[in-house]
Symmetry: C2
Subunit: 418 residues, 2 copies
Amino acid sequence: VIDPTTETRSGSEGEPAIEPIPGGDLFSTPGLRGAAAATGVQPGERLDLAVIVADGVRTAAGVFTRNAVQAAPLRWCRQALQKEARARSIVINSGNANALTGRRGEEDAARMAEHLTARCGGPALVLSTGVIGVPLPIERILPGIDRACGSLSREAGRDVAGAILTTDTTRKTCAVRVSLPELDGPVTIGGVAKGSGMIHPNMATMLAVVATDLPVEADALDAMLRRSVEASFNRISVDGDTSPNDAVLVLAGGRDGVDPLGEGDPRAPRFERALRTVCESLASQIVLDGEGSTRLLRICVEEARTPEEAAIVSEAVARSSLVKTALAGGDPNWGRIVSAAGASGAALDPDELSLDVAGLPVFVRGEPTPVDPTVLKRRFQSSPVRVTLRLGRGEQTHHRVTTDLTQEYVSLNAEYTT
Amino acid sequence: VIDPTTETRSGSEGEPAIEPIPGGDLFSTPGLRGAAAATGVQPGERLDLAVIVADGVRTAAGVFTRNAVQAAPLRWCRQALQKEARARSIVINSGNANALTGRRGEEDAARMAEHLTARCGGPALVLSTGVIGVPLPIERILPGIDRACGSLSREAGRDVAGAILTTDTTRKTCAVRVSLPELDGPVTIGGVAKGSGMIHPNMATMLAVVATDLPVEADALDAMLRRSVEASFNRISVDGDTSPNDAVLVLAGGRDGVDPLGEGDPRAPRFERALRTVCESLASQIVLDGEGSTRLLRICVEEARTPEEAAIVSEAVARSSLVKTALAGGDPNWGRIVSAAGASGAALDPDELSLDVAGLPVFVRGEPTPVDPTVLKRRFQSSPVRVTLRLGRGEQTHHRVTTDLTQEYVSLNAEYTT
């Protein structure tokens, strides 16, 4: 899998590599089992409920949507993790997001978690994805939890990865091993994700669950997860286009006789790089499964005055419908990129702006540069296309990946609930 | 023409109506002549250059794009109007925006204005719309100005309105008459505009020129134009998605023996209402000519804490691709509207939110309301569809109009320069 969110793997020389596990998934992590069930919330016999259970209580952390409207399961998880940063089990249903469902939604989320705790042990966390504003058919969900809890196994990777999908076309899983100093044998980090589409995830949902067998202190786990999400999922999802259900959960622990990793621990940087690698891989699988998208655009903003300035410019370009339709058409209409940057709200000086498209300088400090249109067009039709926008204002950078806006995107999203 | 930007015409009782002039246009305003020419910048024999000339120097004002990247003609107009708020003539070319064209672009804009001044009198203003980043073929433009200046007439409305279009499918013109106290005979206000598309105007350009025979002081004209643009063009164009070429110009004067209108003048409110009416009509003609759009959505945000909060929430809904594709599909997936509002950045409390769709309450203070899906779907398929989002935080309101996002929008924009 090409990873469009990153180009070079940072890491000290001579350090043992972060080793991908071919075909690995969440359950490559020792001590985890899972299962999926078909509840009928999604049509037919499609698996639409997943359960993940650890063989003991784990340290847990979560990063949740910045949307002011939070789905009931996210409210539940947030409160649970504030009370104690521990969890043993997770239930995820697809087809109904249990969002904008009022008091009944809160009760349904709690019932799902309590039911899972009763069957498989807890504390339990709960996530949902699907249609918004429709009450959850809880009478179908609870028996589904029962069935899943009756068939837990370590070979659940494919079923679990499938059961959490909605309009996705591919399962998203990843696992890596990394050796840490003063530790016998490598640590495993595995993950599973759901999400597609780049304008924002379809049904406005992006979910991921990551787990490791390394014990990690709660504060350190929370901080490392936040940084990893910022460097991965937040680079593919356009900021602001959040949904009520976006969430990333992590469970850590299980290996005996190991001191939990803390923030100042010398092993922490290497572990965090491995965690970020898993998040980046899952993020790249989401962007490659964009709704009806055919090509990727990597937007690199350089020479910004502040990191925030770099980020708002890259966001403005990434969410421009005119840029995204030009990408769909393979049309190197680069003026739209500069225009979108100008509309970002950043105090840009057009006479200091420069733009490279697919390695060709087309605009240098406010002046257009003659380029061979045939060469430009051919280069623009590759994927991913890289554009570099230099603001001439400082030294800060930001990059973001977006997809093209195609007719298929429109047709996929025009008739979703019907 | 339905006017989607306004629902009720404010105005004191018993006040003489603002009277539309059927078939009226910019040249309904006494003292104005115009002409158009085909320069070959747009394909074939299509008229693509317009000249507007008053029979004397007028007071002038302009409102220009908030995009940090400003096209050369806009930089030129801004400087000219800062130096003196007067103009006699305007030249507009279509097919090439003269934006991102560096020093040569600045020179070309100045040459257009100077050429027009030499032929027809000045001061001259200049506007351009079309492809960005391509040097202006000035050797075709200047002879076009010559030809247009040779055929000025008062019957130029249709040609001028056509020559400034790009992918628009309709000409946009409007004229009204309004009687003012202590003035013999009504005052005329006429206008012409260019623009289509609601994500943002195609080629990212929206232009308008308005003229009146009433003499108005420069400061008052500037203030009234700003307020009128805010209430009209800024309600249909999604804030932030500005282009380097967006501009509205106004010329005022010509009637002899009338004291120029000042800000405190008792005649000013009525005149300003008439000016706003013309801007609103032109804005509504633009939105109805949306690129590939078939239906309109009117977003009313109520109960916001501040006007800014109301505006950012209405903007977030208006620019949501998921909301716009749902509209295209006639799919009343109202959760997307609440989710888009939640993603706006406003500090909303979901338990205080309420949403009406086409008059049906679907979400009341955080609780979904049972509605008949058949009735909801039928009502959602009208145009314009009105949705009202109450934030439960205060008394401020904002409304905005957007269009659906259709497959035709994508196909129109995917291959524009090629």
